[in-house]
């Protein structure tokens, strides 16, 4: 179908976009890459009165590293993040996640900020933000604030961004020294939204025991799901197959995914357990105690 009529303004500066948001309020919507919003307009699931196009705001398109933290501007294209050596060197999990995200034709236009703001629990970047404990900077005309990934994802397709706010930046802190990282997912066809997935960070202490493992499950709940019970289970343990299997089982028992035409709840739970175990095994194999890495360098 075709979208219902709307007015269109192309923002030329982030402050102008915030000004427009403040005055147009609920009637308006930000348009970044449009790869989620335009399908919704075409289906007439969304009928905003005004679209504020932030897609050409070069000020918000950047990837850099400051004091170990990776900073990604909201309008950075997904394809740019995919190609970023800076990102893949320190956060291999991000590169893996992006490889699963839709298709080249979508990533060339879709933005990092748009995907995060869209807050789909079946999307790769929100899951990566959750497990990497990203911090989101949002702004309105009256100022800026920073939101942790835990607080940012509120429910299915809903983030903590208020109607007069815009996401400016995603900041991803350095992963702990020597930590193993993994991202696995399953979908029927490459590029489709995932039926299940898991992202894992495994830091080790000097004795090679798990210290601060993070596990986030994809498509498991209305938000990217931090499997805290499973994380605690691994604390202080050696990452052996038995411990990892127990953790994967615990992670899956925390969730009750909804059934749909693509897969029932019990299937999705079993899938979550399998993928979680895969991700844990992969990350554990990569992980090294912190001092060993330094000697290696």
């Amino acid at each position: 179908m075709k979208p219902a009529p709307f007015d269109y303004v192309r923002a030329t500066h982030p402050d102008q976009a915030l000004e427009l948001l403040a005055t147009a309020g609920d009637e308006s919507k930000l348009l970044a890459g449009g790869q989620s919003l335009i399908p919704m307009l075409n289906f007439r699931l969304a009928r905003p009165a005004v679209l504020i196009d932030i897609g050409r705001l070069g000020e918000l398109s950047y990837i850099n590293r400051q004091d170990g933290t990776l900073r990604i501007g909201a309008t950075t294209r997904q394809a740019q993040l995919e190609r970023s050596k800076l990102a893949s060197a320190g956060w291999p999990l991000l590169a893996r996640a992006i490889g699963w995200l839709a298709h080249p034709q979508i990533r060339s236009v879709g933005t990092v900020g748009g995907s995060v703001a869209h807050a789909d629990p079946a999307a790769e970047l929100p899951v990566a933000c959750s497990v990497l404990e990203a911090r989101m900077t949002v702004a309105s005309r009256s100022g800026k604030r920073e939101i942790s990934a835990d607080d940012f994802f509120v429910t299915h397709l809903t983030s903590a961004i208020e109607a007069d706010e815009m996401l400016l930046e995603i900041a991803i802190p350095a992963a702990p020294d020597g930590a193993g990282q993994s991202f696995v997912e399953y979908s029927r066809r490459h590029g489709d939204f995932a039926l299940g997935g898991a992202a894992v960070v495994i830091p080790l202490d000097a004795q090679g025991r798990c210290a601060g493992v993070r596990i986030t499950l994809m498509t498991a709940a209305p938000v990217p799901w931090r499997a805290r019970t499973a994380e605690k289970l691994l604390e202080g343990e050696l990452p052996g197959a038995q411990q990892l299997a127990a953790a994967a089982k615990a992670a899956a028992s925390e969730i009750s995914p909804t059934s749909d035409i693509h897969g029932g709840s019990s299937y999705r739970k079993a899938l979550a357990q399998t993928l979680c175990f895969q991700a844990l095994t992969e990350a554990a194999a990569m992980a090294t105690p912190p001092d060993v890495t330094r000697v290696g360098k």
Binding site: K2, P5, F6, L41, N42, L51, D53, S108, V109, H190
Partner: protein, 163 residues
């Protein structure tokens, strides 16, 4: 709602039209510019039939407003070859039966041409990833993959082929 006059460069020619903001790029290309080589299948981003290139990168023209492409450079299947001869990729599609009904073909060509241009090495895996977002209901994809490999050999620089 206001009409805007926009200009979009398509295949190195400027097209100017007065459009509503909701005009999709796919409709601008087909109806305002009259270039009907670009096909529209699903109109919500899943089939890839409408794929064109925006500043060289493959994009879905049904998921972009014409006004978003204002002042930018679009290339459609009509722009693949600037002579009466087919582009080597088109020729290989013909030779390897990379098409049957042809509905999907412009989208495949416009997705594959940038892949072939940018890839360090053409591989079956790479080809399949490049076209994962394009649906073909006729060929079963194998003959499309074959066509790309034929074209890649054809297009390889001469010195390389003699080694």
């Amino acid at each position: 709602m206001t009409l805007s006059t926009i200009t979009i460069d398509i295949n190195d020619q400027a097209y100017r039209a007065e459009v509503e903001p909701r005009r999709l790029l796919s409709d601008f290309i087909r109806e305002d510019a009259g270039l009907t080589g670009t096909h529209v299948g699903c109109e919500h981003g899943v089939c890839g039939a409408c794929t064109v290139q925006l500043d060289g990168a493959p994009v879905r023209s049904c998921l972009m407003l014409a006004i978003q492409a204002e002042g930018r450079s679009v290339r459609t299947v009509e722009g693949l070859s600037d002579s009466p001869e087919f582009h080597p990729l088109q020729k290989a599609f013909l030779d390897a039966h990379g098409l049957q009904c042809g509905y999907c073909t412009p989208g495949f060509l416009m997705s594959l041409e940038p892949y072939m241009r940018d890839a360090d090495e053409i591989s079956e895996q790479g080809i399949r990833e490049a076209i994962a977002g394009n649906i073909c209901r006729c060929t079963g994809y194998q003959s499309i993959v074959d066509a790309v490999q034929i074209a890649a050999n054809e297009m390889r620089p001469q010195e390389d082929a003699e080694r």
